[in-house]
Point group: C3
Chain length 365, copies 3
């Protein structure tokens, strides 16, 4: 993080047109970013969604990222951009305070003689770089992280403290892996044998493309044969489980606590909400969306939105309905029987009804 | 842990009235605590729930924590208290054998010169205390734990080994955080931009009040703007995911594998069972209870118990019913049609029935 | 890992009969294992399931593990065995490249004077062995792993980097524990007291038998009183939560993200699929199978397969059906009313029908 910019410089960095409010100065140095409701007079805000428009008129922010259209109703200085949410995202990198680390290897780190650590990389206290591992330029290996034998960490990639990368894994450039995530542990493979389990040693690795982010306490297992593959620009949240030989297409995103079983193939640009489960060996079409907690048990052939589960309600009500779930097949059959009886009654009633009504009238039309 | 107390001293510590059985001595030193069924003659037991009352008569325990009412049926010495379960909980602290650590910084720990570690605190082997972090009196930082730049660990709080606290987080006094939990990792925030994702740097922090316990392998993400906030006395189990800007009210408890999405607000004194999911931006009323595995998709306005899901059963039966779930809307419409047909038949039948039955009788009332 | 074997030696190691294809040599040294589709001419493959039989005729593998029956249709050299999948599993151990560690204690490790580390064991960089802990022969304690006071790691067992074993836990021989898993953290026990929670210190431990494998980022909590017990040969995947005092019977397997609540007892040879939840205090019969994401809310008395949940579908369709779930009890009652009305109509119709049809015919039989 460099010096904080003036409003004028911020506008320049974001490619925004600065429309100063009366009496405002473009040499003000904003202290940071905040929501429309909470921003102080030193903070910049943004209007990213129609839902928040009602907070615009009363904001105290020194400036607001808005579209040209919204600028008219902005009571303070406007930073006019085509896409305020996108501009806000870029602005966050300007105000980010996360610690940066100078190049070098902490004396308490263990680096194998055959490992290659670029002189611009940082290796934190207690980190371990095993034999033949490669740490590229400007990479950051956080305190206590482990990079296993022969594994590669790409340029500018950052492992936060406590990440474990097993042997024979590849992480591309510009990746972020949050703390205590484990990459390359064994997939869950055992052959049953007379009531016991024989371990199938997992001979593949993990291959993570550039610009991938993985949250904290997640797992990406190594392949049984061949690699588990995470595509370019994929974003994975905390506590996500990716089993052996899964493939995730470029720019897909998976929210927290979702899990993908072995050999499943997820397309590109998919959005997988929190807590979703995807069973093994299925294929998910590009641009599919899966809603929270859905269990995907078959391949998804067409892009679209997919769901499972039941609505939540007060427990007493829920319990009454849940009991009926266990009677559904029976209910369906009863309904079928009712329909049959009814059809028969109507059929039998028809001649009687006819008698009662007299002979059918010819349709005059 | 001090010397183990005699029965007399134990009673005193727990504020219990000791009613010695015939021939028993209050100078006995119990070896520990156990259930009514498993306690030896050297162990103290407790009767915490009516469900276990049947085990009282045959217990071999040297003494049992009971209410005055239960004391009469206690075959051994009774430790009479108002709330035996509460007294048992307090007794566990007397018999706890978890290792204690003397004040001091392990020579293998890395402490930044600008960090402040109270002389009574303990910093274990390989732990890292970054710049400007503060470790208060009698705090315990377990082996390999990381306290990020500027973060604060309150008095008597304990991080078990392997905990990672990112920069700019605040943990109050008397907290416990179990191993490999991650506090302050980035929330999952990305702005879509032409099929790619732009990272929204997470500028907020995490604020944890006093007397909070967090289990192992859990995650509490830092806020995007502003803090993620965990209230006083909150208890969080293992593998719980708390997303950015969540707020959890005082004394709420969340069991293992539950997850709360971004900006959700959970009230005070809530009890969230295991595996519960709570979607983003909802509000949960104080004193709400949510049963295991429920997905909460809307705000809960009134305290009460809430549930979702279906009952489990033998897979074949379940499959038949689950198929019908996919036909439910159709079934509902069919049922509506049946009702309509039936109403029409009844209406038509009415005059015929009348004919058959003769003229309607006048109601004498 | 020793030298890679020739085809002849591989056959010998696997107890396979080598049937060389025309022109093939048993002195070829295969480079590894692969699937029928992907194997090169240097790789050995296997036919483990009928589903893959169609790939046999076109495989380029140098040899294929097959049954005697399948050998006839094998276009390349055949390694004839009774159980090809089992033989494949054993073959993976021959080609495993995971790093091995020479005996010895890394100088950056912290080993308490009272701990006992066998001279053949390995203790990695930054690992911590606390007071009175025991590390048996040929055990491997990965970098940064912690073995708490008095805990025992059995012969040939391996903790991958970052594992935390709390005090007073016992891990048997030939076990594998993957990175960042936590064994022996406190169970989630609190006694409510006037709106607050009193901690119930967890006085028990964890007892893991021989040949157990536990995945990455999993948790096995210590018992409240008495131990949490994992039986012989149990296989546990990543991110599995085992609460206090759970018992898991020998040779059971639990896939990723499953969770077992306190004091549940799981039988032997059970297979628990991914994402399953098992509530507290239930018992699961030996040889039970539970399908993915099922929530087990009651004891399972008979072996069999058990399930819960709803099928997934396109969200719009799902939503229509899910709404009806909330009306199920009402639907069931409406169906009951319809049946009653119908019965009445049929009863009333009977005499009329009789009239219309003429007197009933005597049954000639």
């Amino acid at each position: 993080m460099s010096e904080q910019p003036t409003l004028a410089l911020l506008a320049e960095k974001l490619g925004a047109e600065l429309r100063l409010a009366a009496g405002a100065s473009d040499s003000l140095v904003p202290s940071g970013l905040n929501t429309l409701q909470d921003a102080t007079q030193q903070e910049v805000s943004f209007l990213a969604s129609a839902a928040y428009k009602r907070f615009l008129s009363s904001t105290r922010a020194c400036a607001v990222l808005v579209t040209a259209e919204q600028a008219a109703s902005c009571p303070v200085s406007a930073l006019v951009v085509a896409d305020p949410y996108q501009a806000f995202a870029r602005a966050t990198s300007i105000y980010d305070r996360s610690p940066q680390y100078a190049a070098g290897i902490d004396p308490s780190a263990s680096v194998a003689p055959s490992a290659e650590v670029h002189h611009s990389a940082y290796v934190g206290p207690g980190a371990v770089i095993e034999a033949r591992a490669q740490i590229a330029e400007n990479a950051v290996i956080g305190a206590g992280s482990i990079v296993g034998a022969g594994s590669v960490i790409g340029a500018r990639s950052r492992l936060f403290p406590g990440v474990v990368v097993y042997h024979g894994c590849f992480i591309g450039a510009d990746c972020i892996v949050h703390s205590n995530t484990v990459i390359g542990a064994d997939g869950f493979g055992f052959a049953p044998s007379q009531g016991k389990w024989t371990k199938i040693h997992q001979l593949g690795g993990v291959e993570i493309a550039d610009e991938v982010e993985v949250g904290a306490n997640s797992c990406i297992d190594r392949g049984a044969l061949g690699n588990t593959v995470i595509g370019r620009g994929v974003k994975i949240d905390n506590m996500v489980q990716i089993a052996h030989n899964v493939q995730i297409g470029d720019y897909s995103a998976m929210a927290a606590c979702s899990a993908v079983a072995g050999s499943a193939v997820i397309g590109k640009h998919c959005t997988i909400a929190g807590g979703v489960g995807i069973v093994g060996h299925v294929t998910i079409a590009d641009r599919s969306h899966v809603t929270a907690r859905t269990l995907v048990t078959k391949s998804i052939e067409e892009p679209g939105s997919y769901s499972s589960g039941t609505p939540f309600s007060e427990s007493r009500t829920w319990r009454r309905n849940a009991v009926r779930f266990g009677q559904l097949d029976q209910m369906s059959k009863r309904l079928g029987n009712v329909e049959k009886s009814l059809a028969q009654i109507e059929q039998e009633a028809a001649p009687r009804k006819q008698e009662a009504d007299g002979p059918p009238q010819g349709d005059p039309r």
